[in-house]
Symmetry: C2
Subunit: 198 residues, 2 copies
Amino acid sequence: MFTKSDITRQAIIEKSAPIFNTKGYSATTMNDILLATGLTKGGVYGNFESKDQIAIEAFEHSIGKLLEALRFKIKKENTAKDKLFAILSFYKNYSINPLTEGGCPLLNTAIESDDNLPFLKIKAQKALDELLGGLAFIIQKGIESKEFRADLDAEKEATLIFSIIQGGLMMSKLADNPKILNGLLENLKTSINTQYLV
Amino acid sequence: MFTKSDITRQAIIEKSAPIFNTKGYSATTMNDILLATGLTKGGVYGNFESKDQIAIEAFEHSIGKLLEALRFKIKKENTAKDKLFAILSFYKNYSINPLTEGGCPLLNTAIESDDNLPFLKIKAQKALDELLGGLAFIIQKGIESKEFRADLDAEKEATLIFSIIQGGLMMSKLADNPKILNGLLENLKTSINTQYLV
DNA sequence: CATTTTACAAACCGATTGGTTTATATTTGT
DNA sequence: ACAAATATAAACCAATCGGTTTGTAAAATG
């Protein structure tokens, strides 16, 4: 069963996650979280020891949602190519229609944490490892099943695909133009069709 | 001639630029700037009306340095291919050896400003336009001079190259591994050699 | 060399920061 | 239904936030 505190904790995480993802860690104040949850400080600090801890769990919540949604789409496909295409379609229009308000939590947290927030950086590092690893796994399986060319370097290709998605996301969001990212995703589809398939 | 205030202004910009680029706008406090410049509040607010204004000019300073360094490297080369290679070599090891402490000011500012800091976002948008435009210009010239294939889409290729660089930068910095970015830059060289040249 | 302008240090401001304490409800297990 | 444990509201805290004011020292100008 869920205790009352379990429910309150979860509500705090779910309400604060989009705030952290939109405003960033530094610009998000405890008052923002109080307003969003309708709680007072006692209610929040009774369930979390610090703002840092809320930020950590909010990030893990946002990344967890993203990974779950990706896995759901991937699982429905059977070929390596279709799985990759499912990932690309997941990111279509992501700059204007992200899973969590504020854009990609990995990108946002990576940039904000890399020099100053080690407790968040290690969480973002783990998320990057999982995403790149998952991508490389699909490509490797495609190679092993003879669907993809044998001379492909799965890890290199995973890194390339993900850099294009993340760089494209940044540019589309900055320029307020989803076509930048969408165009890159179309490029990637073409590349997979022409360079990955045997 | 430079008045004393010109010199003080410039010193404030140059000392605060790496702080903003490392900690971000929100996490950088006026006290950080006072410590870095050795001034007191009177000295800073006598030359700038607000923290926002310092942040704007610090960003423009960092981006200006980046654009100038890029143009210097590009100008020395004669062919479109060599100019592109010069850009790629500029970014080699950028994750551990950036021009301004804290990494790429465009990437950092884009991510922090896109949802909340419109006065910085418009500056970052302009910087992105200039960088993408410069890249597309080189490619277009390469097409017109018959150095590059006629069916290349200069703007699309510029977007692709820049997304890989920026996405790679984010990943290299996050993973504390310059090889991620450097490997992507090598990929790009190969792609240019095999797919751009006639 | 005197005067006007510029530059900056120091003290100060109200508001807000993340976090604590206390006291009272509300659940929970018996 | 009662006692123990849990949960949260409200008041409070020192420290820090960005920004202002005031007074004086240093430059620039005649």
